[in-house]
C-alpha cells in the first residue's frame, strides 16, 4: 500500500518533469524557506542522475535572516544547481520602485516588481513556486498551472479547468505560468518529508534564543531592518520560525522544539495556521493574498 506522502511525491515529481518537457525556459523560486527547499529536493530526485535542468531564482529583498542566506548558498552548492538573484535593492537603485519608508515599512510587496522584471529579463516562461493550497484561502483556489498575462496578473475568474493529470501550459509570447507542484501538500506533509529524507533546513526553523519584541500579538525579531517602536520592549525568548520570509514581516513563535520530531509533534497539535501565526502581510485585509496575487505576487 502506498503511503500518502509517497503519492504526493509522485504527483510533484510528475508536474516538475512535465514543465521541464513542455516549457522553453523554466525557473524555480528558491528562498531557502522550507517549502522551496522541499521543492528543490523533489526536482533533484525528478531528474536524477542528471542535473536539475533549470536555474533557481531568489527574489532578495535585502532584508533577510543571515542564517537563511548562508543556507541558501550552501544548498545550491550541495545540489549543484544554478542560482539567479533578483535584487529588490537593485530595483530601487534603478528607480523601478521606491523603497518603503516609515516605522512599519516592509519591502515584501515590492518583490512583485523585481520578480516580474527578473522573469522578463531572463525570458522565463514558467516559474515554479512552493505555495500550498492549505496555506491561505486564495491559494486554495489556484490551479497547479496558473496563467499570468503579459502584466504578470492572475485572473481568478478565467482560470482554466484542470482535469485528471493533464495540464495546459499554452500561452502567448510575453505571458508566463506559475507552477505549484506542491499544491496538495500540507505543512505537516512538508515536515514528514524533511524527517523521512533527512533534509537540511535553515537553523531558524528550530528553537533558539533570540531578541524579540511584541507587535500585533506576534513575536517580531530585532534585526538591522526592524527595530521596536516606542513602547515595544525587547526581551530574549526561546522561539522558532514556522515560515521564513522577509525579516520585516515574518514573526517567530514561542517554541522549544529543537529537533524535526519535536517540530512535527508541535505542528500536529497547532491550533493556528502557519500564516495566521506568523505573517503580518496577510493581515492587511480579508483578501490580502488574493489582491497581491492578482498583481503578480508569488
Amino acid at each position: 500500500m502506498k503511503s500518502a506522502l509517497r503519492s504526493l511525491i509522485d504527483e510533484s515529481v510528475t508536474i516538475i518533469r512535465e514543465v521541464a518537457a513542455e516549457f522553453e525556459r523554466p525557473a524555480m523560486l528558491f528562498s531557502g524557506g522550507k517549502d522551496s527547499v522541499v521543492m528543490l529536493h523533489l526536482a533533484a530526485r525528478a531528474f536524477s542522475p542528471a542535473r536539475v535542468p533549470f536555474p533557481m531564482l531568489h527574489i532578495d529583498t535585502g532584508h533577510n535572516f543571515a542564517e537563511v542566506i548562508e543556507f541558501r548558498d550552501r544548498a545550491v552548492r550541495d545540489l549543484d544547481v544554478q542560482l539567479i538573484i533578483g535584487s529588490v535593492q537593485a530595483s530601487i537603485d534603478a528607480g523601478r520602485i521606491q523603497d518603503a519608508t516609515g516605522p512599519r515599512a516592509s519591502r515584501n510587496p515590492l518583490q512583485t516588481v523585481t520578480l516580474l522584471d527578473s522573469i522578463k529579463e531572463h525570458k522565463f516562461d514558467a516559474v515554479f513556486g512552493g505555495a500550498r493550497r492549505d496555506e491561505e484561502r486564495a491559494r486554495a483556489k489556484e490551479r497547479v498551472y496558473s496563467h499570468r498575462d503579459a502584466f504578470g496578473q492572475w485572473d481568478p475568474k478565467t482560470q482554466r479547468p484542470e482535469l485528471w493529470g493533464i495540464y495546459n501550459g499554452r500561452h502567448k509570447p510575453g505571458e508566463h505560468f506559475r507552477i505549484f507542484p506542491i499544491s496538495n501538500w500540507t505543512e505537516l506533509d512538508i515536515w514528514r518529508f524533511v524527517a523521512d529524507y533527512n533534509i537540511d533546513l535553515p537553523s531558524i526553523y528550530y528553537a533558539h534564543r533570540r531578541q524579540v519584541f511584541r507587535r500585533d500579538n506576534m513575536w517580531m525579531a530585532v534585526s538591522p531592518f526592524l527595530k521596536p517602536e516606542v513602547g515595544e520592549s525587547v526581551s530574549e525568548e526561546l522561539v522558532r520560525f514556522r515560515t521564513v520570509g522577509d525579516a520585516t514581516c515574518t514573526a517567530a513563535i514561542e517554541s522549544s522544539a529543537t529537533t524535526i520530531e519535536q517540530v512535527i509533534a508541535e505542528t500536529s497539535v497547532a491550533r493556528i495556521t502557519e500564516r495566521g501565526a506568523t505573517r503580518a502581510d496577510d493581515r492587511i485585509s480579508e483578501a490580502g493574498m488574493e489582491d497581491r496575487k492578482r498583481t503578480g505576487y508569488f
Binding site: 500500500m1 502506498k2 503511503s3 500518502a4 503519492s7 504526493l8 511525491i9 509522485d10 504527483e11 515529481v13 510528475t14 518533469r17 512535465e18 521541464a20 518537457a21 523533489l42 530526485r45 525528478a46 531528474f47 536524477s48 542522475p49 542528471a50 542535473r51 493550497r133 492549505d134 491561505e136 484561502r137 486564495a138 491559494r139 486554495a140 483556489k141 496563467h147 481568478p156 475568474k157 478565467t158 482560470q159 482554466r160 479547468p161 484542470e162 482535469l163 485528471w164 493529470g165 493533464i166 495546459n168 499554452r170 500561452h171 502567448k172 499544491s183 496538495n184 500540507t186 505537516l188 491550533r271 493556528i272 495556521t273 495566521g276 501565526a277 480579508e286 483578501a287 488574493e290 489582491d291
Partner: protein, 418 residues
C-alpha cells in the same frame, strides 16, 4: 494508507458547506484563526450563524456574492487516513467546475435534502459522477432532523434513487441518513436513528478500499521525459521518465514501444527514492531498457501481448467547457492526451445528452457551454488509448483552443458503438 481524494457536490441549500464544516470541525482541522476570521465576517454581515462556507469560498467575488464559483481544495487528516476534499459548486452553470473537481476523485458525495428527495440536481450530479467514472458514490440524505428521523422517508429516497440509477454506470453506491447541522451520522453515530445499521460518513471515508480502483492489469507507461545526464560519471545513462498509467512494470519484463512497435527488456527502474524492482499505477519512475531504441515524449510503453488501442478516428463523450464559444464542427483544436500532443477536429456530434433525464438528442451541430455529447474525433496522429472505463488516464483528453489557449473541452474515450 493511501490518501482519499473525494469531491462534494451540491449547492449551499443542500447543506454541503455545513457538512464540510462539520467534518473539518469534528476532526479538529479548522484552526482557531480561521474560525475567528469567519466568525468576524459572519458577524459583520449580520448573519445569524457562523457561515462555514466562508472557509472554502476564498475569492473576493465569491464572498461578495455569497456563492461558490470555483472548486476549492481542503485538506484534513484523521489518525487513520488523510483526505483531500474538492468542494465543487453545484449549480447548473458550474457543471464545468464539478467535472474539474470530480475528474481525479476516488469518491463523490452527493447531498439530497430529505424533505425534497431526489430532484433534478441529484440526477444531474449522479450522471456526471457516472460519466467521470468516479469509483465510489455516497448519497447523503441530509436534514433528517427536519423529517423526524423517519426511516420510511430515507427508504423511499433510496428506492427513488435506485430506480433512476439503474440506467447509470455506478459501481458502488452507499446511502447514509445524516444531519450535517446536528451532527447525526457524520462523525458520531446518531442516537436519533437507531434503525440505521450502517456506518457514519467519516467511518465510511476512513475505511473504503480504493487500491483495487486502479487498473493493475493493462501495463501503460506514457513517456514523459528522457533523462540523459551529460555527466562523466554516468556516460551511458538513458532513462525514460513518466508516471505509470496502468498495470505493473517489473525489472526483466519484455516491453513494446508505441508507435514504433520495437521491443526490449526493462533492465532497471529508478524511483525518487532510488532503484526499485517494480512500479505500480501512479508511481513516477524512470525506466531503463536493454536496447538503445529511439523513444521520445509522447511514446508509450506496454506489454507486447497487451497493447492499447491505436487510432486516429475516435469516439468520445465530450463536455464542452468554453463559455466564450461553442464547439464548432471541423474546427481544428489541440488535443492533449497523456503526454502526447496532437491536433484534431470533431466531425460529428452523434447525440447530445440531456443531463437531467438522460435523453439523447440527435441532429446536433454544436455543443454549447456545459453541454455534453457523444462525438467523433479525428486526430492528426494516432492516439494510444483505452476505453475511459478501463483506464481514466489513457482514456481521457482535453481540447485546447489554438487561438485563445483556453482548455475548452474534456473528453472521455469510448469504444465505438456496435
Amino acid at each position: 494508507m493511501e490518501r482519499l481524494h473525494f469531491a462534494t457536490v451540491g449547492s449551499v441549500d443542500d447543506g454541503k458547506s455545513t457538512l464540510i464544516g462539520r467534518l473539518l470541525y469534528d476532526s479538529k482541522s479548522i484552526f482557531e484563526d480561521q474560525l475567528e476570521h469567519i466568525e468576524a465576517v459572519s458577524k459583520r454581515r449580520g448573519d445569524d450563524y457562523v457561515d462555514l462556507s466562508l472557509l472554502t469560498d476564498g475569492l473576493r467575488a465569491e464572498r461578495e456574492q455569497g456563492i461558490t464559483i470555483d472548486v476549492a481544495y481542503r485538506y484534513f487528516a484523521t489518525p487513520k487516513r488523510s483526505f483531500i476534499i474538492a468542494d465543487c459548486p453545484g449549480h447548473i452553470q458550474y457543471t464545468r467546475n464539478m467535472i474539474t473537481g470530480a475528474s481525479n476523485a476516488d469518491l463523490a458525495i452527493v447531498l439530497v435534502d430529505a424533505r425534497t428527495g431526489v430532484v433534478e440536481q441529484t440526477r444531474r450530479h449522479s450522471l456526471l459522477v457516472s460519466l467521470l467514472g468516479v469509483p465510489h458514490l455516497v448519497i447523503c440524505v441530509n436534514k433528517m432532523d427536519l423529517v423526524d428521523y423517519d426511516s420510511a422517508i430515507f427508504n423511499k429516497i433510496r428506492e427513488e434513487f435506485e430506480t433512476f440509477a439503474s440506467r447509470l454506470d455506478l459501481r458502488d453506491v452507499t446511502f447514509l441518513p445524516i444531519s450535517a447541522l446536528a451532527g447525526d451520522n457524520v462523525v458520531s453515530r446518531s442516537a436519533n436513528m437507531p434503525w440505521f445499521e450502517g456506518s457514519t460518513l467519516l467511518h465510511h471515508l476512513e475505511n473504503i478500499y480504493t487500491a483495487s480502483d486502479d487498473n493493475r492489469i493493462d501495463t501503460r507507461f506514457p513517456v514523459q521525459y528522457v533523462i540523459r545526464p551529460q555527466r562523466a560519471d554516468t556516460p551511458d545513462y538513458r532513462g525514460f521518465a513518466g508516471r505509470v498509467a496502468g498495470g505493473m512494470l517489473r525489472v526483466g519484463d519484455d516491453i513494446m514501444v508505441l508507435p514504433s512497435g520495437l521491443t526490449s527488456t526493462i533492465t532497471g527502474i529508478d524511483s525518487p527514492d532510488g532503484p526499485v524492482e517494480q512500479a505500480e499505477p501512479g508511481q513516477a519512475v524512470t525506466i531503463l531498457l536493454a536496447d538503445d531504441l529511439s523513444i521520445t515524449r509522447g511514446d508509450m510503453l506496454c506489454r507486447p501481448n497487451n497493447r492499447p488501442r491505436t487510432s486516429q478516428e475516435l469516439e468520445a463523450m465530450l463536455c464542452w467547457m468554453d463559455d466564450a464559444a461553442p464547439l464548432q464542427l471541423d474546427k481544428i483544436y489541440t488535443v492533449k492526451h497523456t503526454t502526447k500532443l496532437a491536433r484534431g477536429k470533431v466531425s460529428n456530434v452523434l447525440y447530445r445528452l440531456d443531463i437531467s433525464n438522460l435523453h439523447r438528442e440527435s441532429d446536433i451541430k454544436e455543443l454549447k457551454f456545459n453541454e455534453i455529447g457523444r462525438v467523433t474525433l479525428h486526430t492528426t496522429s494516432p492516439l494510444f488509448f483505452d476505453d475511459y472505463h478501463q483506464n481514466r488516464t489513457t482514456g481521457s483528453f482535453i481540447l485546447v483552443d489554438e487561438s485563445s489557449g483556453q482548455t475548452v473541452a474534456a473528453g472521455m474515450l469510448l469504444s465505438p458503438r456496435s
